[in-house]
Each structure stands twice: as structure tokens, then as C-alpha cells.
Amino acid sequence: MIVDQAEALLDPVTHIEGFMLGCLIDASTGMVLASRNEQESISVPTAAAGAADIANVLTLLAGALPADGLEDVMVTFRSQLYLIRLVTQDAEPPILLLVILDRMRANLAMARHEIRNFCASMSA
């Protein structure tokens, strides 16, 4: 990893039911800052790059539509849930949290609540 001692920050996220992968990404450069991966089959760089691309496209869209700042994105696949959240609205550079969950085991509402709490605790 490029940034030291960042992996431990993700400990609370690993306790979310159905956790498969979590990572913190610098949205401006697409660089992975920290990651925890419990699923060998998921490539962290690819998942992180995808999250950064999604956030980038939605930010471009927000520049052209009367939408306020991006907060979070949920993507539903048949077997997985991808949750992407800006850790805070005002961090520079913007930091994204990506959490991938096993859809069979995860509770989306609870997971979203826990991710929101995690992001709040990161800034406190």
C-alpha cells in the first residue's frame, strides 16, 4: 500500500454482515489508500477503479444537473452489493469508501446505516 497504517482504519467495516471487500480510494487520482479483502476472486484495483469512475461520472452529471453534492451510490448485482460513499463532502482530496457485500447475507439498510456511522466517525 502507498499510504502507511491506513488498513487498520477499515476494521469497523469488516464487521458488517456479508462483508467481502472494503477500500478507501483517493477519488481524484483513483489510487487505493487502504483495502481489506476477504474474497480472493475480487481484484481490489479493478473494484476501486470502478468506484472512482462511477463517482467521477456522477460528479460530472451533478455539474450539469441541478443535483447537490454526491453522497453515496448503491449498485446491485445478482450476488453482490456495491456501496460507494464519499467519506465527507469537504475533504480534499475527496476520499471514497467502497464496500462490497454478499447479497445473500447482507441487510442493505443496516449496511448503509453502519457505513454512514463509519464515515461520520472518520471525521470526528
Binding site: I2, S28, T29, G30, A48, N56, T59, L61, M122
Partner: protein, 270 residues
């Protein structure tokens, strides 16, 4: 007798000794040298000279600092200063120290600079320094090179840009950083100039300037056709090749990398 034409042979020979000339596979040789230093857990400085002067510093085989004459240097920060910060504050502070080293390494490994003799035991005095594995650094540099290659048809770090003269400030919705860039752009500013002005990474600034091109808030100087003012409800500039971090990730053997232009799926290529 050699079948290689004399001029080609002369170029091959001089490329390996003259600064500013790239020998075949030279970037690979630098990578291999860095990997050797990592394997030997070396401590010291690998100096570069030529088109871009600078150095990469190692401690116990890990990169702790990199500096280049063409990228802004890292923030100076003491480990003790992190104590009172939130976890996010600590993360961004560590990133502020690591990012300039990655940015400098990208410049040194991408330019036609040559590395000289490794000087053991020469380290910068720095309280808070990153400790980056050589393989991680090389992978990140390669990813950034692939990303910049996507943009290179339109924008490089040294392309002059200008502000769209038709911008109406009440219609502009941008981040604080994008605003800071917009107000600093003069006709002919390059992403590298702006990076120096804001003491930010050249790579990150280039990506941000590209986003501003897509939003039609900036245009490449000399291409006034792109300078039409953004109107409410306008989509991002569809003529610009889409910038994609996914396409910059190293493809695994057999992977299919998606090739898309905004709004139009073109299929997939190997």
C-alpha cells in the same frame, strides 16, 4: 558483418550513454534496478539526471521519498502533529506526504532521465515519511502512465489551457479544488503550472483539468471551437474521450477491457 544499419547501430549505442536518449527497454531496466535495491533491503539514494533531475530514496528496501525537479515537493509534517487529528485527517496528512513522492516517481520513470550510481546511506531528513513497497510504487506508476495515455490525445501535463470566456459564475457547480483551478487559469496555463501554484500533484491536477474540459469550463488553448459556453442542462463534452480508471488497471491475461465513449458502448477489446 552486422545487418543493422550503421545509423541505427550508432543510435542504439549512444542511447545507452547519453542523457536524454532512451535506450530500448530502459524504463524496464530502472524498474529492475529498483526491485534489486528492494530485495537487498538497501538504504540510500538513487539519483536521476537528464530531462528531469531528481532522486528516489530508499530505507530498508522501501521507498521513503522521491523528488523531481518537475513536480512540487511533499508537505513537511511531523509525526507528532498527527496526534490531534481525526482518522480522516491523519489519512489525508499521510496522503499529502506520500502523493508527491508517487508523483515525482511517475515523472522520473516516465521521462528520459537516466539513473546514476546508487549512493548508500544518503537519506533526506524527514520526520514523517511514507514507506512504500517498490512493487506497489511501480504498479501505481504504471497505472498512472496508462491513465495519462488515455488523455494524451487531448491533454498532457504540459498542454496549455484557457478558461471558457462564456462561463456564468451562477451556473457553475464545481468542487473547491476545481474552483481554485478555474480562478488561477490564465491563457496558456498548463496543468503543471497550476499544480506548482497550488502545490498539488501534477498527475492529480492533470486529471482535474481534464474534468474541467469535460464540463466545458476550460478548453485546450488553440481549440476555440471547444469554448462554447455551457448552458443549463448541457451534457458533458461528448467529443472528449472518456477518462476511465478501470481502463488504466492492468488487464489480467484473458480479461476483456471495456471500451466506451460517453453514452455509446463500443464493445470490448482484448
Amino acid at each position: 558483418m552486422s545487418q543493422t544499419p550503421r545509423f541505427t547501430r550508432a543510435r542504439q549505442l549512444t542511447a545507452s550513454v547519453l542523457p536524454g536518449r532512451r535506450a530500448d527497454g530502459y524504463p524496464g531496466a530502472v524498474s529492475a534496478r529498483m526491485q534489486k535495491l528492494a530485495a537487498a533491503r538497501s538504504t540510500g539514494m538513487l539519483p536521476f539526471s537528464g530531462r528531469c533531475d531528481g532522486a528516489i530514496y530508499f530505507r530498508d528496501g522501501k521507498v521513503v521519498y522521491a523528488a523531481s525537479g518537475r513536480t512540487p515537493g511533499p508537505a513537511t509534517l511531523a509525526e507528532a502533529a498527527l496526534a490531534g487529528l481525526s482518522p480522516l485527517g491523519q489519512l489525508t496528512a499521510r496522503l499529502a506526504v506520500a502523493e508527491p513522492s508517487v508523483d515525482a516517481a511517475l515523472e522520473l520513470l516516465s521521462s528520459e532521465s537516466r539513473c546514476a550510481k546508487f549512493r548508500a546511506d544518503r537519506l533526506p531528513h524527514s520526520d514523517l515519511a511514507p514507506s512504500i513497497g517498490v512493487d506497489d510504487l511501480l504498479a501505481e506508476v504504471a497505472r498512472r502512465q496508462r491513465f495519462l495515455k488515455q488523455l494524451s490525445a487531448v491533454l498532457t501535463s504540459d498542454t496549455a489551457v484557457a478558461r471558457n470566456p462564456h462561463i456564468r459564475s451562477e451556473a457553475v457547480r464545481v468542487s473547491a479544488l476545481q474552483w481554485a483551478l478555474l480562478i488561477r487559469v490564465r491563457h496558456g496555463s498548463t496543468p503543471r503550472d497550476l499544480a506548482w501554484e497550488l502545490t498539488r500533484s501534477v498527475f492529480g491536477t492533470t486529471a482535474e483539468v481534464y474534468r474541467l474540459l469535460a464540463l466545458r469550463l476550460l478548453y485546450v488553448a488553440g481549440h476555440p471551437a471547444r469554448a462554447r459556453g455551457p448552458l443549463p442542462g448541457d451534457a458533458p463534452d461528448q467529443d472528449l474521450p472518456v477518462m476511465s480508471f478501470v481502463r488504466a488497471v492492468s488487464p489480467q491475461k484473458g480479461d476483456q477491457m471495456p471500451l466506451t465513449v460517453i453514452g455509446t458502448a463500443l464493445g470490448a477489446v482484448d
